[in-house]
Symmetry: C2
Subunit: 452 residues, 2 copies
């Protein structure tokens, strides 16, 4: 075991391929269905929304997908990211466990999101597309896409959930610095937005509504496509650079993981870290337990149902077989905006059904407590999303303290919290709340699931 | 010349010594004087404010000062920092110049400040001190000291200039996350603050006032000392890790610098980058031109005078021989809060008089223009302070485009701008202003200089 604190890799060690776990599953996940015909959607159905290369990646079963030079050229600005042993946190907890975190917060936009924003912008630019539309909640995805579009000379238009638009002006400004246009969602620019505003001029919006708006605009213009920051197969594929690098770095530490922990919203951060390790596990080269952590206020794995549902509120998207709380479910306003999504990646949902990993839910306050503990020990203030993984890591490390186990725990610190400090301030002032989620709210939303 | 974009160094390459340029100067700088006796201040005069080790470092003429293991142990969390070639910016400018930037924004607090905050907290803790006080303007220094104090279990009390306290709640929250207590300055906690509040209850404060408050509290308690984030010799000493690493990294790129550019407020970032290169220049191993860039709204080098003056507004500090605009000078509210200081490091002032580097001033709007250009090309949004250096680098690169010179330009990107996005927003909206600084304002402030 190495006595290092950080393992850095030279840019020559950026992975040359994304890893496609579809090649290694015992059965493929159920396909997306057309909302009216209920037939599996084909490339033609998706062509108004995505460029051909991404549609091909969405259904590819090639084990490895080469990363184009034009993407590596941008990855080089911040990749490989460091793998850091949390020695100070271990000491503060007095645990015999060894905790490693892959830090993605050093990217231009401060999270793991550019790992997929960059290839998405690249393939669109190569196909001659001039503009990308997208939605953003807390702003991490919108910022990443704005950055990526600036790199390839694409226009970028972002629908930002109104509540965040008002509360997080700095994320909005960051998108503008990168040259993007930002709309508060619901907006009068789209017909779906106008309809919602007509009913409720003060609507705080939701991720589902913002998706509907971005999709509407992309579908209506030949030179415009839509980009999604999580959920879809190709997004998870792009994020596997995280796990591929971590594999090499953990080996350089001389370690094999016993437990891998990641937070899940749409699932791309968790999948990016876990998939390459699951490959190694399937090949019998290691045997880590793998655990997803979701917010108790939006528990699609632990309290949702596995069914076909829409990805957005208005029902524009294909039907996706996934763990869902119902597309009309509006999560309570926890600060981990990136985890406030009613559904879950269909690929991860399928793997969860196959028993390939487990899932737990964590309350908001224990997550912020973990975030403050981590910041005081390790210096980095985590975004609210990865504090869910950290709360689980800390709980596990304290269990190891009881049992004396020298477990090797690996997690992904997928973003820094510099844009979330008002939430930390509320936590420190004792003003932050946990939310009780009564079963009726889930049942009511599930009652609106499209009929099979 | 390497085709790399980033040169990373393993943690084993963290410098083992700080470089003390006092060992290599033809003459020592004039000493600080006691404000009443006008005699050079001795260690006893400084003992109420600083621990013995830092006082010794302040006057040491040893060429190399070993970095203690207890400091290296914390540096390891983020050092060595990367040296990055700005290939995308070069391409966007169409320049034959090659631009390299040392990126310090990946530190826990997001700037170069922890390089000195950590050793300052370390030496205080070793001497049994329990609490540190300091001032902060924009908040970068206060955040860094709060982080460092958390590492060594010290209490930390920060006086934050009221204008920033109100405008930058996120920096304030970040200090609280690290466990520090933050006061708006002027505060009712000190007698100097109370006096100012009695005259003007709405005083926006200034860095000079905040220093006076922090010094008053430190001087009045046995277990408390004061920490300064720039200006003093030991602070500049600690920052030389930047330049030592950059020397090794630039050599790894296969390059020798033609021009080194850094922004100057109190001078620690500039000195940290430049001093090791000046050593190499004095030894005849290279011959770079070295240029400091200051804001036109606070031009201590280019429009100040070289004289003994107070470091703070109230006149608590020793008299320092430096380039100063007068200790009563209040700079216009530019967003580069870290550069809004009436004086300049006495060591740098002395070296400037010796002709060891040159200085220029830049207006606020051209700096933000450079910041936006840099962000769109390189992905990183710079803090307003280093945009001053970037404006100069871009101007030089465009001169190289005219002349065809393949100049090698090195600068330090000393912090990210994630806490400064409202200023970027104002720039993008055309609301940001340049300030005219009439000579009378400087003359009026200089008229209050203490008599020789």
């Amino acid at each position: 075991m190495s006595d290092a604190t950080r393992i850095l890799l030279d840019e020559s060690r950026i992975p040359r391929n994304w890893y496609n776990i579809l090649a290694d599953l015992p059965a493929p996940p159920p396909p997306p269905l057309h909302p009216t015909t209920r037939e599996p959607v084909g490339p033609d159905d998706l062509a108004p929304l995505f460029p051909a290369e991404l549609i091909a990646q969405e259904v590819s079963t090639d084990r490895f997908v080469p990363i184009p030079d034009g993407v590596l050229d941008i990855y080089r600005l911040w990749r490989p990211t460091p793998l850091i042993r949390a020695r100070k946190l271990e000491r503060a907890l007095g645990t015999p466990a060894r905790i490693y975190y892959k830090y993605e917060g050093g990217s231009p936009s401060g999270s793991h999101k550019p790992n997929t924003a960059v290839p998405q912008a690249y393939y669109n630019a190569r196909q001659g597309i001039r503009r990308l539309t997208t939605e953003t909640g807390a702003g991490q995805w919108g910022t990443a896409l704005a950055f990526a579009c600036a790199q390839y000379g694409l226009a970028c238009e972002v629908w930002m959930v109104r509540a965040s638009y008002d509360q997080k002006p700095h994320r909005r400004s960051l998108m503008r610095v990168y040259g993007a246009t930002v709309h508060a969602s619901p907006s009068a620019v789209t017909s779906v937005g106008s309809k919602i505003l007509a009913e409720d001029a003060d609507s705080p919006g939701s991720l589902g509504i913002a998706i509907s708006e971005a999709v509407e605009v992309a579908a209506g213009a030949d030179d415009t496509r839509y980009a999604l920051g999580s959920v879809l197969n190709h997004v998870l594929l792009h994020q596997t650079v995280i796990g591929e690098e971590a594999l090499e770095q953990l080996a350089a530490f001389g370690e094999t993981p016993d437990l891998i922990v990641g937070c899940t919203g749409g699932g791309s951060n968790f999948a990016g870290l876990a998939f390459p390790f699951i490959r190694e596990k399937l090949a019998g080269r290691m045997n880590p337990l793998i655990r997803a952590v979701e917010p108790a206020a939006c528990p699609s794995f632990t309290r949702g149902t596995y069914a076909y549902d829409f990805g957005d509120t208005a029902g524009f998207t294909p039907l996706l077989k996934m763990h869902t709380l119902g597309h009309t479910f509006i999560p309570d306003p926890i600060h981990a905006g990136g985890l406030r999504y009613h559904g879950m990646s269909p690929l991860l949902s399928h793997m969860y059904e196959l028993g390939m990993f487990e899932a737990v839910a964590r309350e908001q306050r224990e997550c912020f407590e973990a975030g403050v503990r981590f910041a005081r020990a390790e210096g980095i203030v985590p975004a609210p999303e990865p504090t869910h993984a950290l709360a689980e890591v800390i709980a596990e490390a304290l269990r190891c303290k009881e049992s004396g186990e020298e477990k090797v725990i690996l997690t992904s610190l997928c973003g820094h919290g510099h844009f979330d400090l008002s939430a930390y301030d509320r936590y420190l002032s004792g003003e932050l709340e946990d939310f009780r989620l009564p079963q009726e709210r889930i049942d009511d939303a599930l009652a609106t699931l499209p009929r099979a």
